[in-house]
């Protein structure tokens, strides 16, 4: 099936991109890697008249880290580059893990972390861990720049808080707390290539007596947007992480979900796996956090 016609623009600056998008109006779409957008266009899900490609905008492909500012992943930073980045692997292993578990080699060499977030699929592999880390998105639009928490960004399947004409230029992640670790685990029918049926991202921080000091848990693909398992977090915060407390929390995590039956998994399976993956993700994060003395 050939791709229907559209106009294509490759602005050099974010401001130029915003102007082009404003001129295009509702028929314009932003493209980063194109691995979702071009599929939707080819199969006639959307019919944009104009595409504004972001790849020629210098600097947007950057992944930068500093101990003061934390991590910034630009809008056109490739999934493969995020997965391979040494600061990401060192300070945000769950973020690297999630990028590395997204789709296949080819898509990771084309697609972007920010694009994965902006498509706002409930199963977006990169969302749960970034949410757990308290990430924010940086936005530029006709009204100027703003930023918002990623938690406020997702509004429904394929829906975000972006206003018409706005572009996400980066996702920023604060420095993780001391003695903390992240983990992302997902399950899908075919193990690798396909969209996740369940994904769990956690950020766990320990106190000096190895009790749970802080915990954020997000479950993907089990509700219209990735959901926070606040009840589960409350079970563990201030407590020791034992098999039984973690299991009790993970049972709470499943209660935060509203899974559906679809081609990828049944609602029942998703509900059960939300518990299983939460246990594994917390234990995985615990193991890594325990290695950090302070």
């Amino acid at each position: 099936m050939p791709i229907p016609r559209f106009d294509y623009f490759a602005p050099r600056t974010v401001d130029e991109a915003v102007n082009l998008l404003a001129q295009a109006g509702p028929d314009g779409r932003v493209m980063a890697g194109g691995t979702d957008l071009l599929v939707k266009i080819r199969f006639r899900v959307i019919h944009p008249a104009a595409i504004v490609g972001l790849k020629k905008i210098e600097g947007l492909e950057r992944i930068s880290f500093s101990r003061n500012k934390g991590l910034t992943i630009g809008a056109t930073a490739l999934l493969a580059d995020v997965a391979a980045s040494s600061p990401v692997r060192r300070y945000y292993p769950g973020v690297a893990q999630a990028a590395d578990q997204t789709a296949n080699v080819q898509v990771r060499n084309m697609g972007t972390v920010v694009g994965n977030l902006c498509n706002a699929s409930p199963s977006a592999d990169n969302a749960p861990t970034l949410l757990a880390l308290g990430a924010r998105v940086r936005i530029t639009g006709p009204g100027g720049q703003r930023s918002m928490s990623l938690e406020d960004f997702f509004r429904g399947p394929g829906m975000t808080a972006l206003e018409p004409g706005e572009i996400v230029t980066a996702v920023t992640v604060p420095l993780p707390p001391p003695r903390s670790a992240t983990a992302y685990l997902s399950l899908s029918a075919r193990a690798k290539l396909d969209c996740s049926a369940v994904g769990v991202g956690v950020m766990l921080a320990l106190d000096d007596r190895d009790r749970c000091k802080d915990l954020r848990i997000f479950v993907g693909a089990c509700a219209p947007i990735p959901v926070r398992a606040g009840g589960a977090e409350q079970v563990l915060i201030g407590e020791k992480l034992t098999d039984s407390t973690v299991e009790q929390a993970a049972l709470e995590a499943a209660k935060a979900t509203q899974p559906i039956d679809d081609v990828r998994a049944s609602a029942d399976y998703r509900y059960k796996m939300a518990t299983v993956l939460t246990i594994r993700a917390i234990m995985d994060a615990r193991k890594r956090a325990l290695r950090k003395k302070n």
Binding site: P2, I3, F6, Y8, A103, V107, M110
Partner: protein, 160 residues
């Protein structure tokens, strides 16, 4: 409006005028007659259209030709430049019986090259992971995995 672009494909430079909605896959196959690269699913699932773009394996069916402007592309036709001696990956695919109908082969070989450049001595699970984006409906994959292992050995001994 057509966009004028320059592609470097397998070492040759082409100046082309392309419509913005045309993919790199279409331009390679239809304008340059490089039909070794296949078109399969059109959605990035099957890997039959895999080419190297600036040294990375990508799906040419999801790459706009206009976005490949100025980049270096390697297709299966460029694996063995002399046309006489095959690339070690191609030799291994033939020797191990990793080719049946052949439709997935160009994409498989490019994905294998991408892997072996990053990791010259991959383990079986790393090969399977690297080829997860390339579907084969004939072989059952066992022979392909063997071929990639064999190609890794050949490429190492060529270097030493």
């Amino acid at each position: 409006m057509k966009h004028s672009i320059t592609l470097n494909v397998n070492g040759d430079t082409y100046n082309l005028a392309v419509d913005p909605w045309r993919t790199l896959n279409e331009v390679l196959r239809e304008d340059l007659n490089l039909t070794g690269t296949k078109f399969g699913c059109g959605s990035g699932d099957c890997g039959a259209c895999t080419v190297m773009l600036d040294g990375r394996a990508v799906s040419s069916c999801l790459t706009l030709a206009v976005e490949a402007d100025g980049k270096e592309i390697l297709t299966v036709e460029g694996l063995a430049p002399s046309g006489e001696k095959l690339h070690p990956i191609q030799e291994a695919f033939i020797e191990k019986g990793a080719i049946q109908c052949g439709f997935c082969t160009p994409g498989m070989e490019i994905a294998a090259l991408d892997l072996l450049r990053r990791n010259p001595g991959p383990k079986e699970d790393q090969i399977r992971e690297a080829l997860a984006g390339n579907l084969c409906r004939c072989t059952g994959y066992a022979k392909i995995v063997e071929a990639v292992q064999d190609a890794a050995d050949k490429m190492k001994s060529n270097q030493s």
